[in-house]
């Protein structure tokens, strides 16, 4: 699930960033996987961590809490920002509504 920058279009040219692919629905069940992925990758991430939301259709409250906790952990560990990429229209609506731009760098 977690890969170093591969041939993914969106990540082309950002090979220095660490990418976490979020999956279809970010819910409590997914949280453990993501957390695991992060812990494995955090060391290599540098100052920016990218989470790919391509293919993500829904985020549950616990999922969002996890993303935010992940962001907090990353920043506290000296990271600069966490970027969310490939947001679908629906997820974008969600991000707007919750003003997620305050906590993440959001790239469509």
């Amino acid at each position: 699930m977690v890969r170093k920058s591969e041939s993914d279009e969106a990540t082309a040219g950002r090979s220095e960033k660490t990418l976490i692919r979020a999956g279809e629905i970010i819910d409590a069940a997914r949280c453990a996987d993501i957390k695991e992925d992060y812990l494995r990758l955090a060391g290599e991430a540098g100052d920016s961590l990218t989470i790919d939301l391509g293919g993500t259709k829904g985020i549950e409250p616990s999922g969002l809490a996890l993303l935010l906790a992940l962001r907090n952990s990353f920043v506290r560990a000296g990271g600069r920002e966490v970027e969310l990429i490939n947001l679908s229209g629906e997820i974008m609506r969600l991000a707007d509504g919750l003003s997620l731009g305050k906590y993440f760098k959001i790239t469509r």
Binding site: G58, E60, P61, S62, A65, L70, S99, K102
Partner: protein, 1051 residues
């Protein structure tokens, strides 16, 4: 929470929208009356109401309601900004739109579609009106420009100040805030903890965002990022606190309901419609003064719905269709504590029963009594609603109709606070609407007519409610033209309901009451408002259904007062418990007027049988009677009361009822089946047994306009009974209104008083009966006479005025002798000349075959004469008018219908005078010697006038006649009169007043006055004497009258 998903929310919205719309009408009309002087508070209230409806509808996806409300809001907004003067041109479309909104709201959930395009267009025009006119109070520049400026001004200064402190937490521009506030939205801060709040409802974040966006706008949101923590925390305790800066048109209450948040989590920052300053600082508590009350209000809304009564009628729909009810929190608390008391009492009761403590039981039962009474009252109070709900609807109705018909009407409403049970409030909507419409449409005249009649141009319509003895009285009073009885009379004849003659016998009050008959509507022109054929009869029947009574009091030219008496509730009603055949029945006291006990000794005199019907002579009326036993088809059983043992026991003797033998033919064979005919006879026959306590108990009842008596066996008790609806199998049973379970577990059926009368076909009869009685009473005063009924042959009935009859003798035909060609008989040591009526009149001759006949002895002049008839069979008081044309012939004065038979009224004096002309001469000569005195006969009835002048002239006097006291005075002024003979009851000037005036006169003050009347008696006589009357005589006592005249003249 999409449409239909959350029924509770929808219901809340509907209930609230209705409430808002209820208020809007009255407010709009007040605004219109105020014209350019705008009551800002009122305008804001309407704006807010529409605004809230818009918001709720938007949230629920009710697009048409939203659009319409939005258009209304636009107009109101311009009124609020004083860009539009609330003229009728502006307010009318708003009122109409409110109606459409009502309809749309009614139609929620149904498939009914309404086209609001036209309404939107009208509103748009109304809203645009001010722009074109440039006549708004503040219109200075061009319209659109002005609006922009206005909008800026409209933004409260305070909103900008407060944003610094409160809104600084959020990333939102001042400009955006201003825009939101100017749109009329409120700004809230919503506090969520997203994880529990959303997961509790199984919602995703996207659902959550979309929902919020549907009911308003998320201006900004902050996640408390610190509280979220980091991945080191146990993921099981994830927190996601979110505060949302939110603008919405919903009010706080709806928002609470939609979001499902606790009231403490919703903070109102600014109110779009408040023009006052915002709070200077954010107070992390709701702005409403008492949070407890808000919670309570919410709780009240979720109180289980109280089922509405019967199906609502279309007119009362708006009031009737509510399936849920708002209950005051205090009432709920009281209910709760009473429920607690009840449990406590139950526990005590159990204890007392276990310990068989009699004294304790008594105390507990007393306590139970008190608690139950309180509980009952408290529960009832939740169902009580103010009549203002109904009354306020009429503001609009009157306003609209008045304008439509160019009438000016001031509506005065009083007693709006009077409370009635919900079901009654729902049921009176229709009848009241009809009555109010009647008053506006037919009652109050056009302004010019009113001015011509010397009344103020504006009519007044008064609607009032008040309590009176456990009932509510509603008064609908107008100062209009009143109801003209002749119109009703004409209509009744036209419809063939009554004949002219019948109507002539009725009092005006009785005629007015005819409006309650089906088909009678007084408007000569049918109008859209009220003259639609359905009318007062429906009003009456609707009111009767809920135990209401209605009365009309009208004065031509002065106005009409309609009073309605209603019970407070239908769920628990005070009843009289009676028994028939040991079965118990409950009779609602609201229908009862009084209870009459006819002692056994008076039963014969006071209770009569007319045809098949029983009637009671009661307060000068004939009261139709229903025997409850017969109405219910109960078998006749006989109970004897054993006074010693204090109980009732069924009678053992079965056959005693009928002592009559079997009908047999000439040969002595029984006719028909002996057994059967005996049974038949028994079934038809009157019961001749009287129980030892054979008194009749009669309840005098009102069923709408109809009064009747109900014969029952025993009166048991008066009780408040709880009405239980009847099972489906008894629905069709018109005589029962419900059932009541009594203390001992027995069921008493509650009688439907109106239903009972209708199954006994009492509806039409009593009208006529009571009319006949009242007419009879009238006649009795003036013209009632006793007749002796006689026959010469079975086919022909004759009537002889009793006034002429001295004696009646039954004689053997052998006693009749013929002397000198004339019949006579020996009688009282002399000879009595006998005459036959057939000798003069063309009637059946005397039948002597039976061997006997009757002699009616008549005093004629100074001697007696006998008139022969075959049979004399009764004396009857007759009030029917005598037809002096159809059967008039020598010896027959005319005819009358007596006992359903054409009866010839014999003129005895004519008969005798024709047969014995020389006797008449003698009779005259008896007075001929005396000076030919002049007698003034004052009498209004032509019958009596003729009779009296007839025998006075026969006695040799000269007569003058006058039809009333005034005419008499005229004659007295111009003629020489020696004696005055006057009737008492007369139109214009009655006998007593005539006497007073005669006595007061210098010229003829000493005249002897003889009163001739049918109203005899000491008190009448005393009155007469006081007025100056010398003698009191009974009409047609010929001899006495002549004697008196003589004595006065000689004296």
């Amino acid at each position: 929470m999409a449409t239909g998903q959350d029924k509770e929310t929808l219901l809340t919205f509907v209930a609230e929208a209705r409430e808002h719309l209820d208020g809007i009408e009255g407010d709009l009309m007040t605004i219109e009356q105020g014209g350019a002087e705008i009551d800002a508070e009122l305008v804001n209230r309407v704006f807010r109401a529409v605004h809230t409806i818009k918001g709720g509808a938007g949230f629920l996806g009710l697009d048409r309601i939203k659009e319409l409300a939005h258009a209304m809001e636009n107009v109101m907004n311009r009124v609020r900004k004083q860009e539009l003067v609330p003229s009728p041109g502006i307010i009318s479309p708003l009122l109409d739109s409110a109606d459409v909104l009502n309809k749309l709201i009614d139609a929620i959930g149904s498939d009914v579609e309404y086209d609001i395009g036209e309404q939107l267009r009208v509103l748009e025009m109304a809203a645009a009106a001010g722009l074109g006119e440039k006549s708004g109070p503040r219109a200075a520049g061009s319209g659109p420009r002005l609006m922009v400026e206005d909008k800026r001004e409209q933004v409260p200064e305070a909103a900008r100040i407060s944003s610094s402190e409160l809104i600084s937490r959020f990333a939102v521009s001042e400009l955006e805030l201003e825009k939101v506030i100017a749109d009329g939205s409120d700004i809230f801060v919503l506090e969520y903890d997203l994880v529990p709040d959303l997961e509790k409802h199984g919602k995703t974040l996207l659902d959550f965002i979309d929902e919020l966006n549907r009911i308003g706008k998320i201006l900004d949101s902050n996640i408390d990022i610190e509280s979220v923590g980091d991945l080191d925390l146990d993921s099981g305790r994830l927190q996601l606190p979110l505060s949302v800066l939110f603008s919405t048109v919903l009010d706080r209450e709806l928002l609470l309901s939609f979001t499902g948040l606790d009231s403490g989590k919703i903070l109102l920052l600014s109110s779009g419609e408040d023009t006052g300053p915002l709070p200077a600082a954010f107070i992390p508590e709701p702005l409403e003064p008492e949070p407890e009350e808000i919670n309570a209000e919410m709780a009240a809304e979720t109180v289980p719905a109280v089922k509405a009564g019967d199906g609502p009628s279309p007119l009362a729909k708006a009031v009737a269709e509510e399936a849920s009810l708002r209950v005051n929190v205090k009432t709920l608390d009281a209910l709760m504590s009473l429920a607690g008391e009840l449990v406590l009492t139950r526990n005590q009761h159990l204890q007392m029963v276990a310990s068989s403590d009699q004294h304790g039981l008594k105390l507990v039962s007393q306590r139970l009594n008190m608690v139950t009474a309180d509980l009952q009252e408290a529960v009832m109070s939740t169902r009580m609603q103010t009549i203002g709900r109904v009354f306020n609807r009429f503001k609009r109705l009157v306003h609209d109709s008045a304008r439509k018909y160019n009438k000016e009407i001031n509506l005065v409403i009083e007693g709006e606070e009077v409370e009635l049970d919900k079901s009654i409030i729902e049921a009176i909507g229709d009848p009241l609407t009809h009555l109010v419409r009647n008053a506006v449409d037919h009652g109050i005249e056009l302004p010019q007519e009113r001015v011509r009649a010397g009344k103020p141009a504006a009519g007044t319509l008064y609607l009032g409610a008040s309590y009176e003895g456990g009932q509510v009285i509603i008064i609908i009073e107008d100062d209009g033209a009143g109801i003209r009885p002749e119109k009703i009379r004409d209509k009744a004849v036209e419809l063939g309901l009554f004949s002219r003659a019948q109507l002539d016998l009725m009092t005006e009050q009785e005629i007015i009451k005819l409006v309650f008959l089906p088909g009678l509507t007084t408007a000569s022109q049918v109008t859209e408002l009220s003259g639609r054929g359905v009318g007062m009869d429906v009003v009456l029947s609707n009111l009767s259904k809920i135990g209401g009574l209605i009365n009309i009091d009208t004065q031509v030219g002065q106005g009409t007062v309609i009073s309605i008496k209603l019970p407070l509730t239908l769920a628990i009603i005070p009843c009289l418990i009676v028994s028939v055949e040991n079965e118990r029945y409950a009779i609602p006291q609201v229908n009862m007027q009084e209870m009459v006990r006819i002692p056994a000794a008076q039963v014969k005199e006071r209770i009569e049988r007319i045809g098949q019907a029983l009637v009671l002579r009661f307060r000068g009326r004939l009261l139709p009677l229903i025997t409850l036993r017969e109405a219910l088809g109960l078998d006749k059983q006989h109970f004897y009361e054993d006074l010693e043992k204090d109980g009732q026991y069924p009678a053992q003797r079965q056959m005693i009822e009928d002592r009559r033998g079997v009908v047999r033919d000439e040969l002595g064979r029984p006719i028909g089946d002996e057994e059967q005919s005996l049974k038949d006879k028994r079934a038809q026959g009157e019961d001749r047994r009287q129980s030892p306590t054979g008194a009749y108990y009669i309840l005098v009842l009102w069923a709408g306009e109809l009064q009747y008596g109900l014969i029952i066996d025993r009166v048991l008790d008066s009780e408040e009974v709880v009405v239980k609806p009847l099972g489906a199998h008894l629905r069709g049973c018109k005589v029962y209104a419900g059932a009541a379970v009594q203390g001992d577990g027995k069921v008493a059926m509650i009688l439907d008083i109106a239903g009972l009368s209708s199954i006994m076909n009492l509806t039409a009869l009593p009208e006529k009966l009571s009319m006949a009685v009242s007419a009879a009473d009238k006649m009795k005063k003036a013209d009632s006479r006793s007749f002796l009924l006689a026959r010469n042959s079975p086919r022909e009935q004759l009537a002889v005025p009793m006034a002429f009859v001295s004696r009646i003798e039954k004689i053997d035909t052998g006693q009749i002798k013929i002397t000198g060609g004339r019949r006579n008989m020996q009688y009282m040591n002399g000879s009595l000349p006998l005459v036959g009526i057939e000798e003069v009149a063309n009637v059946s001759p005397l039948d002597e075959s039976s061997g006997y006949c009757y002699v009616i002895v008549v005093r004629y002049g100074v001697r007696d004469v006998g008139v022969l008839v075959t049979r004399v069979f009764d004396i009857e008081d007759v009030s029917a008018a005598i037809d002096e044309f159809t059967h008039r012939q020598p010896g027959i004065q005319g005819s009358a219908i007596i006992r359903d038979e054409i009866t010839l009224v014999v003129d005895l004096h004519e008969v005798i005078a024709t047969i014995l002309p020389e006797w008449a001469a003698v009779s005259k000569s008896a007075v001929a010697d005396e000076k030919k005195a002049r007698v003034l006969v004052v009498e209004d009835s032509s019958f009596f006038r003729k009779k009296i002048t007839g025998f006075i002239e026969e006695a040799g006097y000269e007569t003058f006649v006058a039809r009333d006291g005034l005419e008499a005075l005229d004659i007295l002024a111009s003629q020489q009169v020696d004696v005055v003979l006057t009737d008492i009851e007369m139109p214009n000037l009655d006998g007593l007043e005539l006497a007073r005036r005669i006595r007061a006169s210098d010229k003829f003050g000493q005249l002897p006055i003889i009163a001739i009347t049918s109203v005899a008696g000491e008190s009448a006589e005393a009155k007469g004497l006081a007025a100056g009357i010398n003698d009191y005589l009974v009409k047609l006592e010929r001899e006495k009258i002549i004697e008196k005249i003589k004595s006065h003249l000689s004296g």
